[in-house]
């Protein structure tokens, strides 16, 4: 298992033992506290072409917790990017100052391209600067998936044998696709709960079939709430529906409130990638089963562990 200088582009690039290794290091850091000397003198570039305050702050605090300096390249206004600089040229330039680049970019596949650019650059005698994908368009957001899976494991003390419900916009929501790929490395049962028009796409289910993962499709949360160990809610966007009536019919059905939540097991944990709009009502926040804010917080140890591993500060 080699992490040093490794790009983090897709969750599919990681095998189960590698994910478990990252989680072990993350748990260590949470328990023993962050060692500020681990990444002392290192520089983490946060190259964000799209606003994503949450992801950027999470990476920033992870890097700083281990003593690394961070440099933000926030937004595109006023930078050379606005003057038509290609992503390649920006990466070639930024790589001169950075030990690792965390990138968020609106185009699908931009992270793989950036990783190819710094790999090629390394053949010219420079250090390899690993690329960490902080979200490339609608494609992937691997550290989100890692923190989701870490949260599952942390709350249930295992992933094997669990029954999970993924709820909401399963068609367009990349978090549920990536999470499905990650869960397929474990022995899990997945319940997809969505309106017909937003059900999980075939490319995901055919992958699960090949891997022998048990899954079922449902149209109501009530059908699964009493048995599942995790409910992963996602937002249903109004723009996905041809008319407002259709949207209004659906949005109430895929909403978690205190009454519905009370039917779940006490050990069930309710997750959400955030931001939420109204798919989880406010009265649910104080229930012991609600976990979405801690889940977001888990981004810090997971990202810290990952940065330390790819910069060779921990093994």
């Amino acid at each position: 298992m080699e992490f040093v200088n490794r790009d983090v582009v897709s969750i599919k690039d990681f095998a189960r033992p590698e994910l478990e290794h990252i989680f072990e290091k993350a748990e260590d850091m949470e328990k023993k506290g962050y060692d500020k000397s681990l990444l002392k003198g290192k520089k983490v570039g946060l190259l964000f072409y799209e606003p994503s305050t949450r992801t950027r702050m999470s990476f920033d605090s992870a890097a700083q917790a281990l003593g690394a300096g961070t440099i933000w390249f926030a937004g595109v206004e006023g930078t050379s990017v606005m003057k038509g600089e290609t992503l390649k040229d920006t990466i070639e330039t930024v790589a001169n100052y950075m030990d690792v680049i965390v990138m968020r970019h609106p185009f699908d596949g931009s992270a793989r391209w950036a990783a190819d650019v710094t790999t090629k650059r390394a053949t010219r005698g420079f250090n390899k600067v690993p690329i960490v994908n902080g979200g490339d368009g609608k494609n992937e957001h691997p550290t989100q998936t890692m923190l989701d899976l870490y949260s599952v494991q942390k709350t249930q003390r295992r992933v094997d044998g669990l029954e999970l419900a993924l709820v909401g916009d399963l068609k367009y929501g990349r978090t549920t696709h990536s999470l499905s790929y990650a869960l397929s490395m474990f022995d899990t049962k997945i319940r997809y709960v969505a309106p017909d028009a937003l059900q999980i796409p075939e490319h995901v289910t055919s992958f699960l079939k090949r891997k022998g993962i048990a899954f079922t499709k449902h149209s109501r949360i009530e059908e699964v709430i009493e048995t599942v160990d995790i409910i992963y809610m996602t937002r249903i966007q109004k723009e996905r529906f041809p008319d407002e009536n259709e949207y209004n019919k659906v949005k109430g059905v895929y909403r978690m409130d205190k009454k519905l939540l009370s039917r779940a097991k006490p050990t069930m944990r309710l997750m959400h990638p955030l931001p939420r709009v109204d798919e989880i009502t406010l009265d649910v926040d104080d229930d012991q089963r609600s976990y979405y804010f801690q889940q977001a917080g888990n981004g810090v140890p997971v990202r810290a562990a990952l940065l330390a591993l790819i910069m060779g500060a921990v093994r």
Binding site: T86, D108, G109, W113, G137
Partner: protein
Amino acid sequence: MREGANMSEPAKTKKGLIVSPIENGTVIDHLPPGKAIKIAEILSLLQPGSVVIMGQNLKSTKYGKKDLIKVEDRYLTGEEYNKIALVAPNATVNIIRNFEIQEKRKVSVPDVLEDVALCANANCISNKERIPSRLYTVSRDPLVMVCHYCNFEFKGEELRLKG
């Protein structure tokens, strides 16, 4: 074997005329009906001064109807074979020297297409910036490709050649 003469499947029009043989060059055979013009375009065969014979809707014992192209004094590169395969996966290419078929080759879609075709995802970085495209063949029949950059999987019908 003599080109255009003793072939198992002589290229005939409805009236039984054999498309005339060439001395040196390339015969691209077993193209789906209507694809000859497209292939000629992709390979830039229709150059001033070049001798090109194109047959459309010729009788074929194997496929019913087929298109065919003969081009004199022109031989194909490996990349050109790949391009033909993407439009006409069952095409055969005969290399002719001195009226003889020197070599008969079947085209086939390669495992990796380097900068030959476009990713079918409009939001892909490879369609947004001038970078070399890279596609992997997931399956040949039916043709399915996946993009190296954005992981988008798409069918052969959605494939467009670059440039």
